[in-house]
Structure formats: C-alpha cells, structure tokens
Amino acid sequence: MPLIRVETPGLFTTVQDLGRPGFGPIGVSASGAADPVALRLGNRLVDNPEGAAALEMTLLGGVFLFPEGARAALAGSDFGATLDGAPAPLWTALDIRPGGMLRIGPTRSGARCYLSVHGGIVVKPFLGSASTHALSGLGGFDGRALRKGDVLGIGPATVTAFRERPISAETLGRLAPRPSSRKVLRVTDGPQSDWFSEESRNIFYSGVYRVTEEANRMGIRLEGAAVAVRCGGHMITEGVALGAIQAPPGGQPIILFVEQQTTGGYPKIANVIAADLASVGQLRPRDEIRFERVDVATARNLLRQQEEVIREVH
C-alpha cells in the first residue's frame, strides 16, 4: 500500500471525510470536514468519490513525504505549499513523484486546507466514517491529530488516466466571496429567537463579532456586543442543530460546529444556514464577522445554488 510519512504534523491535522450522521441518539455528533465544500472539490480533483478521507490542516500545514508518490490536491485556504521546492498551487491536481516531499506552510487566508490523495486515506472506520472525533478520541488516525513519524496508508488506485481539470477562479468566486477582513454569515432564526428582546436582536444583527482563540471543531466563541434573553426563560435541554448560535449567560455568542455537543441548554438566537457552514470552517481567531438574517426559503435556494456549482465542477 502506498504511504504518506508525516515529517511534521502541522498545528492540528486530522483525517476527515463527510462525517457520520445518524448517531445523535447515542450522543455522537456527525463530525466530518469543517469545510465540506473544499473537501468535496479536493476529492474531485484527484478522481476520488467526493466523501473520501483526506487530511484537514488547521492554520499551519505539515510536511509530508510520499515514498511511492501520489496523485494529490490541495483545497480550501492557501497555506503556501511547495512540492519538492516548487510552488504547489491550490485547486489543481499535483503529481507527486516517488520520494516527493510536500511542504505546507502557515495560512495566508482562512483556517483550513485539505490534502486529498487519489485512493483516499485509509483508516479503520468508526461508525461508518473515517472522520476524527478528537474530543472522544475516536475515529480517524488513532482518534487523534497527526504526530511526527505517523505513517498513513493510501487506498488502491481506481483510475489510471486522470482528468486534468483544475477548478477555475470563476467557479471559486461563485462558491465563496473573496476572503475579506469582515465576513458575513447568513443565519435563520433559532428556536429561541423570540426569547431575545428586539433590542438584543438589533444588537446581534448590527454588531461586529470577533472570533476568539477558543475556536475549534466543537464550537467558535465570539466576542462582541452581548445578547441577553428578555426574561429568565426556563430553558429545557434540547437537541441542537449544526451551526446553532447559542447565547450563554454572559451573552457572548457561541457557534456550535461539526464536533458539537448533540444537545444543549442555552437559548439559541439564530442558526447559520447550510450554505454558509463551509465559511464557518474557514474562520480564524481574530476574524471579524457580521450576521445577516434570511428566511428558510432563501437559505434553501442558496444551498441549491451552491450545490449546482459544486456539481458543475465534475
């Protein structure tokens, strides 16, 4: 089996696929890639099924040696990669020769970059998925982030003649606005939106929130104008949706993310729409964001449009 040797692991590099939905009743959240759009596109570039397991790097990439070579691609944020010393661009397939060395640096844009290889990364599946669930130490490679010296297996090749189809700047532009210093996340109402006073909601939708250092796959803590519930409503713990924005007593919102708790007892003022969850996966500490309220029908249309662009890439 072809291998990848981890020379340096990067800051927090895990094996991820599209997650394991369906285990909410035993408290297991779906997990999966923080930016599933990038993962899917990266896999398409190397002729993988779109949900094949890949490496998710966070803020700082690693150095990887390919003793037998590989067909690989980088997707997501630009981490300034080089292959055997020459620049290795994002969004295009890379032919790595046997003994080739891929060096992936610190981010120049968002939080996450994905390394896909043809054949996918092979790990023992947990509940049907290769995705790492770091909190519980399950799934992925030994249930943890990669370390120096780890050796990963690459699955068997299924294609001999690869297609050459890099993803165009035009396509990328349609999928996500160019990175800017202030991102807008679109949200729908949350189950307890009406628990918040109109004033609180105005504050929430007009304010700028900063991503704190406590931003990971479980959740993203924000800081900005506090939002408080109108009366001390008695909240009964209930299931929480991916992208729920909860307001704990201090009023500083938290976005629940892919490795989220499956239930929670804080009121939720809003919920990030499905089409913008990939953007949440690219948020870095100190990024500034705003929230824009849309209705469910608009959110659904935005998701359909995103899906059409992803399918066109094929």
Partner: protein, 232 residues
Amino acid sequence: MSDPDAVRFQAASDQSLLVSFGGEITPAAHDRVRRLLRLLESERIPAVRNLHPAYCSLLICFDALAIEHNELETILRRHLARIDDVPLPQPHEVEIPVCYGGEFGADLAELAEMHNMTPEHVAALHASANYTAYFLGFTPGFAYLGGLPEALATPRLPSPRRTVPAGSVGIAGNQTGVYPFATAGGWRLIGRTPIPLFRPGERDMSLLAIGDRVRFRPISPQEFAKLAGECR
C-alpha cells in the same frame, strides 16, 4: 397545565425541525419522544440524516435539498397519529459502581455542606434512588438521568471546569449523569466510576440507552482500583 397532546413544530435551522411535546419535563412527554424516535428509527425517512432526542423534544436533521420542513411535518403528523401503538423496547437495568468523594468526587464535601448533610448521607441518598435515562447527549454516551432525590438538587458550578476526569459522576439541577470522556463540564462532581460508559467495538457501544433504568452502587477506593484494572 398544557395540553398533553400538544405538539409544536419549529424550524431550528434551514436543515432541521424541532418537534416539542409541551414545555415541561413529564413522563408522558418523554414517552412520546421515545415512541417517535423508535418509529423514525424503524421506518426510516430517506432524507432524514440525524435524530437528537431530549427530555420533551426531538430535533430532526435532514437533507434540505431532498425535503422541506412542511413536507417533513406532514409525514410526522401521520406518524404521531399512531405513536401510541409503537412498542417500546424493554428498558435495560444497569448498575454503575461509584466511588464517592475524596479524589473521586471533588465537589462532594461542598455539595453536602450546601444541603446541611454529611458527605456519607449524600452518597447514600444518591445510591438509593432509581434513575431513568431520559436521553443521551452532550458527548458520546452521556446519559441525562432523571430521578435525583429532590434533597440533592444543586445548581451547576458557576463556571465550568476545563477538564472533568472520565467516569466522573455529577449533579446539575435535578439531574445526575456520568461523564464518559475527559471533557469540560459544569456539573458538581460527587464520585467516579471505573467502568467505561462508551465502548467502541462492542455491539452496544454506549453502556446506557434512552429509557434505561439506572442505579448506582457505592464502592471503596480498593474496589475502584480493582475494577479499573479489569476494565483496562
């Protein structure tokens, strides 16, 4: 008193629907959660991706490209019309050995003081009750157990711990529960169990399932060490 048959459908997000059975934790509401969960697990709706049961609600996550909220609600209303006929599995009876206090339950002494009890009395009372697993949530295998004696109800810690040791038994409000993994947590810790709550590779991965009946058995530090050795 709310209508016992009242059901509320709410879009929790653009890809999930929250079904609530009244705004109170009652055995009747919880029974409906379990029956609807059971029905959705046995007669799967292809567009449904995940189910998050809780005390008196069920969050249903779905593929927003495949189904809309109102279509799902229509199917669920038909389901609800017959949930009284849905058989529920026989609950398991599970005994969890716990070493109370000392290094195993960092908050036991303070909690006892808050209730003007001795730590021994708190432990005996906690171990005397029959609990029901209302649902699993928070982390893999974490069961929210109802049935805590009223005299032991205690608010959460004012600020959560960054790490709670795996196996810790805690109290929050009128609930008790066991942390399967070392995670952050705000429940007051009264003891610890040496047995694993979440066991990947076993058929029943989670020791506890929704509806299970649970009891706690006090053990000594010596027995804790012995059981911990056997479970390793």
